[in-house]
């Protein structure tokens, strides 16, 4: 009913900054769509265009089937929550909540009911007579949410609403926000740069980089089948390992060679796309797909790497081990630049693995790692695109 559809939506700022390249995105009615990307990737710009605070320089926006591309913000039937809350500093919480309804001349009794209901839902009843400056960050965030709720809009737009809160509160608010959104069933576009928020909150996630939409899908889709090395490296912590390698299929059993280690590759993992043979690839490997050889339940096939644990970090539930192979990249001159660009934890010749907390690995140990080759992904070293 009130889905949001962006078609070829683009934004170029006056000073010739192309902040958003034409993008298509469709948010279903009632869906929580997370828009994620690094800082400066154009997330806020997209959201502000949907809100009407920024004029689109190309494409169209439809909300609930209605073309609102040139409609004033007040007529788009949306509500927005800002990173720094954007409360009206001169108004009490009560009046912050009711402001939008009063401007629209809603009946007083309806206003009172809705404000009371929202305040109760968000647990801010005792704060109603305070002013914004007398509230903590978390309380302000709740008031900002309340202000959005009372309007009963067709969609919520949220721009990094939790990033000013401390870690603990952020997790709590994250959960509160998701259950609230589920209960209200209001279509929501949620902007964040935090991949954990994206993975945990989004029905679907859209990844943006340098103003270009990279991929849209469920958190699981993006995690398991990223469309390129950027998405692969951006989602998940620790980041996916992206190692330069050579894929060879000519000699019967397909193999990939990483830093001199030869791993056999299951047939269904071998890209069908045409390419040379052997061909240079970037091998994507999730840290949790690397297991300790001495405790693995994986078949100890020919998928084994060995190296030196030069750093061991305890995360609590698991242990992150940085493994160094005794080599640099096979041919440093051809190391694709994009491997560094995506900001992965490891570098060529280094593998990040995530072990169970019971591991006895210590810094300085030499150890063998078995790779779950069913989870290998290959990327084109030139374009960074996933090879399928």
């Amino acid at each position: 009913m009130a889905g949001i559809t962006l078609e070829q939506l683009a934004k170029r700022y006056d000073d010739a900054v192309q902040a958003v390249f034409p993008l298509d995105l469709s948010v279903e009615d009632g869906e929580l769509m997370v828009l994620i990307g690094p800082s400066g990737s154009g997330k806020t710009t997209v959201l502000r265009m949907i809100a009407g605070l920024e004029e689109a320089t190309g494409g169209s926006i439809r909300i609930g089937g209605r073309d609102v591309t040139t409609t004033a913000p007040r007529d788009r039937d949306i509500a927005m929550v800002f990173q720094n809350y954007g409360l009206y500093p001169h108004l009490k919480v009560r009046d912050n909540l009711s402001f939008g309804l009063r401007v629209r001349h809603v009946e007083r009794q309806v206003i009172e009911e809705r404000v009371a209901e929202a305040a109760r839902m968000l647990g801010i009843v005792p704060l109603l007579d305070r002013r914004p400056r007398q509230l903590s960050g978390g309380e302000r965030q709740r008031v900002a949410m309340g202000r959005a709720i009372v309007r009963e809009p067709a969609a919520f737009l949220m721009d990094e609403p939790l990033s000013n809160l401390d870690a603990k509160l952020r997790i709590q608010m994250r959960n509160d926000l998701v259950s609230l959104q589920r209960r209200l069933g209001t279509t929501t576009v949620y902007v964040t740069h935090d991949q954990i928020e994206a993975m945990t909150m989004g029905d679907r996630v859209a990844v943006l980089d340098h103003g270009v939409l990279q991929q849209v899908g469920t958190p699981r889709d993006l995690y398991d089948s990223p469309c390129n090395a950027f998405v692969a490296g951006f989602l998940g912590y620790p980041s996916m390992n992206l190692l330069p390698g050579t894929l060879s299929t000519s000699s019967g059993v397909p193999t990939v060679t990483i830093c001199g280690f030869e791993l056999s590759v299951p047939m269904d993992r071998v890209p069908v796309e045409a390419g040379g043979d052997p061909r240079a690839v970037v091998v994507g490997l999730r840290p949790e797909a690397c297991e300790e050889a001495r405790s693995t339940r994986l078949a100890p096939t020919g998928a084994r790497l060995s190296g030196l644990a030069h750093r061991v970090e305890t995360l609590g539930a698991d242990v992150v081990v940085h493994l160094r192979f005794g080599c640099t990249s096979p041919d440093p001159g051809t190391t694709p630049p994009m491997v560094d660009e995506v900001g992965t934890e490891g570098t060529a010749g280094e593998l990040v693995a995530r072990f169970d907390r019971r591991t006895s690995t210590r810094e300085g140990d030499r150890l063998d790692v078995v790779i779950d080759t069913d989870r290998l992904i290959f990327f084109d070293p030139g374009t960074g695109d996933a090879l399928r």
Binding site: D14, I78, F82, Y88, P89, V103
Partner: protein, 285 residues
């Protein structure tokens, strides 16, 4: 104990500053209630033995006893205070309105020619008053604006609007833009958002700027010295200098005038102290 002692140099400096700034005012206050004989006594009498309000009554016209010039001075002093007050209020109001509108526009709106207009406005900050006084005098004379309230207000407006715009622009830049955005989404038109949200949000800054402008304009001396030639516009700052007679210096009258002239700006400074400090320190809100 150690912290206590470490504070001593600081205390001495603060005490020095207080004496430096408050001392002259105290002397003026004491002198203004002393008799002429005691003021001129040698060695000086610091604490007057007789309280005498003759200085004040000479200025305020309650049939002064001590000074022979009482009659003429009473009328002119009150007139000059009135002149000061009127011109200061008018100029402050005009400058304030222009500065708030332009400062907000420069800070928030993107419009063609914005940078050039800004550059032109702020370029005038460089030109000192005395450099333009002579050409201005001729223009003002041609327009018959010498010795008129309108002329003075125009001069003050042109002299202080750029500074005021600059201050208010910086203030607006520090204000978060989100409340205005929120208002637009919540259902306001641009004008409604300005009126219902932005203006209240800017209120502390407006009050501060009002105070600062009042203090600046009230204490103007050079401009009125040139352009306010008669008592019909002459402000108290200029009049005080004329209280000095050819042969005598009536200290008590002079200092009483100074004290009285300080009352309005003191009142403003005390009342708006918190806001003014905020603005001069460059912190919004």
């Amino acid at each position: 104990m150690r912290r206590y002692r470490a504070n001593w140099p600081r205390r001495v400096v603060i005490a020095g500053l207080v004496v430096w700034s408050v001392g002259p005012i105290l002397v003026a206050l004491v002198t203004s209630v002393s008799t002429t004989a005691e003021v001129e006594a040698s060695p000086p009498v610091w604490i007057p033995t007789h309280l005498s309000l003759s200085g004040y009554s000479a200025l305020l016209g309650h049939g002064g006893t001590g000074t022979s010039r009482a009659g003429s001075e009473a009328g002119s002093f009150l007139r000059s205070m009135l002149n000061s007050g009127m011109v200061t209020l008018e100029a402050t109001a005009v400058i304030l309105i222009l500065a708030v509108l332009a400062g907000y526009a420069f800070a928030r709106l993107r419009f063609p020619g914005r940078r050039i207009i800004m550059a032109l406005v702020f370029l005038t900050l460089i030109a000192p008053v005395f450099a333009v006084a002579t050409p201005l005098f001729r223009i003002m004379a041609d327009l018959r604006l010498i010795d008129t309230q309108l002329g003075l207000v125009l001069l003050y407006v042109s002299a202080f609007v750029p500074l005021a715009i600059w201050m208010f622009m910086n203030y607006c830049r520090d204000l978060p833009p989100e409340p205005e955005d929120a208002a637009l989404i919540d259902g306001c038109t641009r004008l409604q958002a300005l009126w219902k949200v932005v203006l209240p949000q800017m209120l502390p800054g407006i009050v501060a700027l009002l105070g600062i402008l009042f203090l600046i304009v009230w204490s103007q001396f050079l401009i009125p010295l040139i352009f306010a030639t008669t008592l019909s516009t002459k402000p108290v700052t200029v009049l005080i200098t004329e209280l000095v007679g050819k042969n005598t210096v009536p200290y008590s009258v002079l200092d009483a005038a100074g004290i009285l002239a300080m009352i309005p700006p003191t009142f403003i400074a005390v009342a708006l102290n918190r806001h003014i400090r905020g603005m001069l320190a460059g912190t919004a809100g």
